[in-house]
């Protein structure tokens, strides 16, 4: 057995087991961490498929950013496990429908050759082939406009999310660092010249004061 085949079996077994634990783990934090493990092993599988760019981006985006924020939220929530498990039979039909669709779609993708999908990538790339360069060339030439439109849509989503949560509280006492740095002594303290309220005692003392 080739070394790559052994790696493939390790990655796929761990992926499947971790994915199973995601839906069976009782603790939501454990479930989220098993999802991280599943992502990591899928990235390994993609690496075996010589798609190193997608594989590393999967780790960077999903493991490094999305799941960290997800864990952040899950850790903060006080989830009652018993309550969550109550609606299992009620939600099963809908869940089974969604799952069925996903299985069917995946079967169609995996049996692409059977359905006459001609443009499948070559199986054996040369050792110095750069998946990153190939992807970039296609993205910025043939698919430049769809790529730009997709990024604009994402930008709109970011701005919308910021706007939805951005509200100015009236009792907010936060200070602006720029104002703090720009402050002058004149803004904080006023020097007032006042006429003396009592007469100076004697002319002799005047010389000492000056």
């Amino acid at each position: 057995m080739e070394f790559k085949t052994i790696l493939f079996y390790i990655f796929s077994v761990v992926t499947v087991l971790a994915a199973l634990r995601v839906i069976t783990a009782r603790n939501p934090v454990h479930a989220a961490l098993f999802l991280v493990l599943a992502f990591f092993n899928v990235a390994g599988l993609w690496m075996l498929l010589q798609a190193e760019f997608l594989s590393l981006v999967l780790i960077m985006v999903y493991v490094g950013a999305v799941m960290v924020l997800f864990l952040f939220v899950v850790m903060m929530l006080d989830i009652n496990i018993e309550q969550v498990r109550q609606g299992f039979w009620k939600n099963l039909p809908l869940g089974a429908l969604v799952g069925g669709f996903m299985v069917a779609e995946m079967a169609m993708v995996l049996s692409g050759r059977y359905f006459g999908l001609a443009n499948l990538p070559p199986q054996n790339l040369p050792a110095n082939a750069s998946n990153t360069k190939d992807l970039a060339r296609v993205l910025y030439t043939d698919y430049a406009y769809p790529f730009e439109i997709a990024s604009v849509i994402l930008l709109v989503a970011i701005i919308a999310a910021v706007m939805l949560t951005l509200r100015r509280r009236k009792d907010n006492k936060a200070m602006h660092p720029a104002d703090q740095i720009a402050v002058k002594s004149k803004d904080r303290m006023r020097l007032v010249k006042m006429a003396p309220e009592v007469e100076l005692p004697a002319p002799a003392a005047k010389g000492e004061q000056a």
């Binding site: 961490l33 190193e52 590393l56 493991v63 950013a65 952040f72 850790m75």
Partner: protein
């Protein structure tokens, strides 16, 4: 290098070599890789130990103290004594902790810090894995370092560690954004994701031709990005003045409160290994890696080591100099100063490269 080692082994063992080779030939790639990993890890861990010693000495001198000077000559055995002490201490488990994750936390902290060294080139050809997507690998594996802190903070089942974990996840994601964006300009000017090629591309240019190579390194044309990368690097390793994750005056020691003995030592090792790694990455991306600053002195690993030492000294220097940032101002610096600055500079570099004034051909 591989052939040299094989020839050396054959000449030492003489007639014994042929039967031995027949046995180990199938697993030779594995053995060879393991040998090189040990060759990187052993000096690295030694550097970590003596970086802690150097830090205590430097901060001592800056604060007009002597620093550790009792164990061994000039206190040189201090890190060994510290290591032994931590090694023989008991690892305590809080009764309310999640035991499995409590053990996993320190492992997840140190594993990425060590795994990242796989793609760091020390001099031409001296790299464990010379992969084309090296920068992506650094960004990807670097981004999972935060899990160690989050898992440790949550598994401790205690309030201060949890605060530390929350702070860490917000801070490290924020500064990863500006670090990644700063690296994009480096990728643009060297048009490669391979770290060896990024270094060699810095040795070209007008100044390098005139013998003043240090003026053609990336730090000068990308000066704002160099500053952003270095400061984000300090924040990414949770070092002072951005060490709000530990913040001993606010949350005692953050995620490390409940850890003792070797488990604590692993967080410690991870932090210092990350510091050395950030200094290596900054040297490679912006300071020309192993390239010599002037034309008449040859290139070599010693230049990379010297640059890393200078950046590490900078880390210690700012720790002794600046007070800790307030948490909200730390987030402001990341999102409202660094991210817009890097985005604008990417545009500037893009226009510069396409204009007739370009210095990257």
């Amino acid at each position: 290098m591989e052939a040299t080692v094989l020839n050396l082994l054959a000449s030492i063992l003489g007639p014994l070599w042929a039967p031995l080779w027949a046995v180990i030939k199938p697993v030779w790639p594995l053995l060879w890789t393991l040998a090189r990993i040990v060759l990187i890890m052993a000096p690295l861990l030694l550097c970590v130990a003596y970086l802690t010693f150097w830090e205590r000495k430097v901060i001592g001198w800056m604060q007009v103290r002597i620093g550790p000077n009792r164990v061994g000559p000039w206190g040189l055995l201090q890190p060994i004594a510290d290591g032994l002490k931590l090694f023989f201490k008991e690892v305590l488990f809080p009764p309310a902790a999640d035991k499995k994750l409590f053990v996993l936390g320190p492992i997840m902290a140190i594993a990425p810090a060590l795994a990242l060294w796989a793609v760091i080139p020390f001099s031409p050809g001296w790299v464990l894995a010379n992969i084309d997507a090296g920068v992506l690998y650094l960004l990807a594996i670097g981004s999972i370092g935060v899990y160690g802190i989050i898992i440790a903070g949550w598994a401790s089942n205690s309030k201060y560690p949890f605060f530390g974990a929350m702070r860490a996840s917000a801070q490290m994601i924020s500064y990863e954004v500006s670090m990644g964006l700063a690296l994009i300009t480096v990728l643009m000017v060297s048009s490669s994701l391979n770290l060896t090629e990024i270094v060699s591309s810095q040795g070209k240019g007008q100044f390098a031709g005139m013998g003043a190579g240090f003026l053609s390194w990336n730090w000068l044309p990308l000066l704002p990005m160099f500053a952003v990368y270095l400061i984000s690097g300090v924040a990414e390793t949770n070092r002072a003045p951005f060490d709000v994750v530990e913040g001993e005056s606010e949350i005692v020691a953050g995620h490390m409160v409940e850890y003792s003995g070797m488990a604590f030592a692993m967080f410690f090792l991870a932090e210092y290994a990350n510091m050395i790694l950030i200094s290596a990455m900054t040297s490679i991306f912006f300071l020309g890696g192993w390239l010599s600053p002037v034309g008449f002195i040859p290139d070599g690993f010693h230049w990379l080591a010297a640059k890393m030492a200078a950046i590490l000294f900078f880390f210690l220097w700012i720790r002794a100099t600046f007070p800790r940032y307030r948490y909200d101002q730390l987030m402001r610096l990341g999102w409202k100063v660094f991210v817009p600055l890097t985005l604008v500079w990417i545009l500037v570099v893009g226009v510069w490269m396409m204009s007739p004034l370009t210095i990257w051909k």
